[in-house]
């Protein structure tokens, strides 16, 4: 029964996501048709390219970064905190961690751990700046985290200079941090049919997801976090110290953001150079929305996003602008927010009616 289905919140999420996806495919098809392309063959081309082994590896690697980024955003969202600064946090964290990893010689095992720890601490500290501004001076975290992104970019540009933390990358004009020695690298996982490797630290994303789920659903801290997000006034009355919560949640969000660059840094590039990927923090905001701040939902959303990014690369070979995928992504995002709200309202009303019916009350 529909009413029973919509009574469960995860079912609402799934229904909303599926409806949004269908809607996005329809919108994309319309845009393709209007532009004079054949939608079925376009999707066909994307799909067959996307399932090639190399594409799968790239998709998974990309999804891991998206996943961590969205998770960082979701921690804040769960208590109505908007961490728009994941982008600056992960880049600064990756840069400092790369420099530290390149500078220190440590035994394998410890070396990776230290690098990851440095990244988490730097990301957390950078985010905590915004939290401190919020609780002491009332500065909106939306504004301060956006501004900290720019400041972060400036700090990176300052530090990433041959006079300070950077060295020239051999055989190019690029500069980057000193490469991390092999003791600090994480071996990749082979995928049949591909020479590319899945980053070993994809597992870090999985662990972070499990940790997030456990924290939110099973711990006292997670309860306070959710309560604050659902009703700040009720949380305060129940004894939650919201200022403390803002600082801890923001620092935690930043720490997870700090991990975003780790799979690639320790699994592929080994150094933070000028061409280290940017913008993952902003993508994470959309993915967190699409995944309803739920660790499982975010996993599917990251994979979908990464798949679309990856498979869009074939479009240019067929003379179709790959920006068409941005339209698909935007349509998914926009419609999922609307559809979820509708599904949620309908579900809640059904829930109330069901309760009233079971109790035989006349509701007015």
């Amino acid at each position: 029964m529909i009413s029973n289905l919509l009574a469960k919140s995860y079912a609402r999420t799934v229904v909303a996501a599926l409806v949004a996806l269908v809607f996005a495919i329809v919108v994309t098809s319309i845009v393709l048709s209007v532009s004079g392309f054949n939608p079925p063959s376009t999707f066909q081309a994307m799909f067959s390219f996307g399932k090639q082994p190399d594409s799968v590896v790239n998709t998974v690697n990309r999804a891991a970064a998206y996943y961590l980024s969205a998770l960082a955003v979701a921690i804040g969202f769960r208590m109505n905190l908007f961490n728009i600064g994941v982008d600056g946090q992960y880049r600064l964290a990756a840069m400092v961690a790369a420099a530290a990893g390149g500078a220190w010689a440590l035994p394998a095992g410890l070396h990776q751990l230290v690098i990851i720890l440095v990244a988490a601490v730097v990301g957390g500290a950078w985010a905590a700046l915004a939290a401190i501004l919020k609780v002491t001076r009332g500065v909106s975290e939306v504004i301060s985290t956006i501004m900290l992104n720019f400041i972060g970019t400036g700090v990176i540009a300052f530090l990433l200079s041959p006079d300070r933390l950077a060295v020239k990358v051999a055989g190019s004009n690029n500069i980057g941090t000193k490469p991390i020695a092999s003791s600090g690298r994480v071996p990749g996982i082979s995928y049949p049919g591909s020479d590319l490797k899945i980053y070993g630290l994809v597992l870090l994303a999985v662990l972070a997801g499990l940790g997030f789920w456990f924290m939110v659903n099973r711990t006292r801290f997670g309860f306070d976090l959710r309560a604050t997000g659902l009703s700040q006034s009720a949380a305060v009355a129940s004894g939650v110290d919201t200022k403390r919560m803002v600082i801890i949640a923001m620092a935690l969000s930043g720490a997870v953001a700090g991990l975003v660059g780790m799979p690639q840094l320790l699994g592929g590039s080994y150094s933070y150079s000028l061409d280290f990927p940017t913008g993952i923090g902003f993508t994470g905001i959309g993915i967190a929305l699409l995944g309803r701040n739920n660790p499982v939902g975010i996993a599917f959303a990251s994979l979908l996003w990464a798949f679309l990014d990856q498979s869009s690369q074939i479009l240019e070979f067929n003379d179709i602008p790959k920006e068409i995928v941005a339209i698909t992504q935007a349509a998914v995002l926009l419609s999922v927010v609307v559809v979820y709200e509708i599904v949620n309202r309908v579900g809640r009303r059904m829930d109330q009616r069901r309760v009233a019916a079971q109790l035989g009350e006349v509701a007015a």
Binding site: N217, R218, T219, R220, F221, G222, F223, D224, R226, A227, L230, S231, S233, A234, V236, A237, S238, G239, V240, D241, R348, D351, Q352, R353, R354, V355, A356, A357, Q358, L359, E361, V362, A363, A364
Partner: protein, 506 residues
């Protein structure tokens, strides 16, 4: 009463929403030139009925006749065209515009927006004695004056039949008297007023005829000269009312809560709680009477640690409270039934068992170490549902799905668990049905018998007098008087609350 044809006649009005019937077989006849009151409990279907009459909802069955002609109302503009106007409970005025601008907004075609409109407003104001000045900014006006602007807005649009939805809810007693004088004036000029309320004393004072609604249908018509407030209340709820009363005193001389000279200031520096001192003992219910907005809420929040205390001492069983967090105070044994359960008492979208944890998220049976003990919390929620008669299909439904009375019983069960020493009960029976009200009083009496100290705040004077061992009166943040609940009447207490009688009354 007028002998002309009725202003409004409703016959067999039925309105179904999917799954529920909000109104059925409603029959009301409102005579022209009268004040007709419609009374009923929260959720009895009054609002739906008024929305139908004002064209915001269409009835599934039944007819509406206005001035003898069948009216098919599709929208509020249809209703306005037939001379029906509505004054909403929550004012719909733009603060930064003048009275004139607010009145003409959306009705510019009638008399323009300039001198013509001003003249018309002045005429209406003089004709009905509303005393409205068209040039004043709305933000400068008090609540009563704003309401008169709302009434004028409706009259300006040509209404002859006015629907007033809970008009006194936002007014202080003097303003209520002024409003009633205005209504008399409207009546004298031949207008008809439909007055929605659940304040029965006021209804008896102002109405010429009364219709009682219960569970979505009209159950009785009453003549205000012949019924008492109590009889009306019983008609509203359909059963005999429970009586708030305490039996033998259980008051001991062991102080639980000591408040000494506590002052709380708001953001502007005004003392909202001003030098308040009181002591509540084991087994004592101390009631605080006062018109809302005189510092009760702030006093409660100061005791709970939600508002900072500027000066003074707060002690729970000898231990200092000032400087401790809300959580710490709760752990020391303060239970809290908040005034607004939706804002402060519940996570509406969360399940009942998660709401059981709220406010007790550091204590067994809800937690084990830093983890939430789901099994323990669920088991204890089952216990509360059982012991406190919370009507629910299960503990996994969202709190929002329950009726107000059942939500409140859940909160009370929760706040009574963990052996509290002090219970702060703000309006514990507000907006709950009669059955829940009597159950809540039983729980308070039992807990008092077991030595609980209770701070009771209520706007229901019968409840306050009946359930308190000691009564204090708060006015403008100060405790101005003390009353003996055994002898004081609601009227006498009411006048103490407005500052009419100073000092102690016996």
């Amino acid at each position: 009463m007028s002998t002309t044809e009725p202003a409004v006649e409703l016959h067999g009005i039925t309105k179904r929403f999917p799954g529920v019937v909000a109104n059925h077989d409603i029959d009301i006849t409102v005579a022209a030139g009268t004040v007709h009151a419609i009374v009923g409990e929260n959720g009895a279907g009054k609002s739906t009925l008024m929305k139908i009459l004002y064209g915001m909802q269409r009835p599934d069955e039944g007819t509406i006749e206005v001035n003898g002609a069948v009216a098919d109302l599709h929208s509020p503009s249809d209703a306005i065209a037939r001379g029906i106007g509505m004054v909403h409970q929550h004012f719909m005025l733009a603060d930064n515009l003048t009275v004139l601008e607010n009145v003409v907004l959306g009705a510019e075609k009638l008399h323009g927006i300039g001198a013509g409109a001003r003249r018309r407003i002045q005429e209406i104001s003089d004709q009905y004695g509303l005393g409205v000045e068209p040039g004043r900014l709305v933000e400068e006006l008090g609540v009563g004056a704003r309401q008169r602007v709302e009434i004028l807005k409706v009259l300006y649009r040509g209404a002859k039949i006015l629907i007033l939805d809970e008009p006194t809810a936002v007014l202080v007693p003097q303003e209520v008297d002024e409003l009633f004088a205005n209504l008399e004036e409207l009546k004298r000029e031949g207008l008809t007023v439909i007055f929605i309320s659940h304040k029965l004393d006021e209804v008896l004072k102002v109405a010429d005829a009364i219709t009682v609604i219960r569970r979505g249908t009209t159950v009785a018509s009453a003549d205000p000269r012949e019924v008492s407030a109590r009889q009306l209340a019983e008609l509203m709820v359909g059963s005999e009312l429970p009586v708030p009363e305490l039996r033998e005193s259980t008051v001991t001389d062991v102080p639980v809560l000591t408040v000494e000279d506590v002052t709380v200031r708001d953001a502007t520096g005004r003392a909202v709680v001003d030098g308040v001192s009181l002591t509540i003992h084991e087994g004592e219910i101390l009631g605080i009477a006062g018109v809302e907005g005189n510092g009760q809420a702030e006093l409660v929040e100061a005791i709970m640690g939600m508002l900072p205390v500027e000066s003074g001492v707060l002690r729970l069983r000898g231990q200092d409270l000032v400087g401790r967090s809300t959580r710490h105070r709760r752990e020391m044994g303060i239970g809290f039934i908040p005034e607004d359960r939706h804002r402060h008492g519940l996570l509406l979208e969360s399940s009942l068992w998660e709401n059981r944890v709220l406010g007790h998220q550091t204590r067994p049976p809800n937690v084990k170490g830093i983890l939430i003990d789901r099994a323990g919390a669920r088991r204890d929620t089952e216990r509360i549902v059982e012991d406190y008669d919370v009507r629910t299909p299960g503990i996994d439904v969202a709190a929002a799905s329950l009726s107000g009375g059942n939500q409140q019983k859940l909160i009370i069960g929760r706040e009574m668990s963990g052996e509290p020493k002090l219970l702060i009960a703000s309006h514990p029976t507000r907006g709950v049905d009669v059955g829940a009200q009597s159950a809540i009083w039983d729980h308070l009496r039992r807990a008092r018998g077991e030595g609980l100290a209770v701070l009771l705040i209520s706007a229901d004077l019968d409840e306050l007098i009946g359930m308190s061992d000691t009564l204090r009166v708060i006015l403008r943040g100060r405790l101005v008087g003390e009353a003996d609940p055994a002898t004081i009447t609601p009227d006498a207490l009411g006048s103490l609350m407005t500052g009419a009688g100073e000092g102690s009354a016996a």
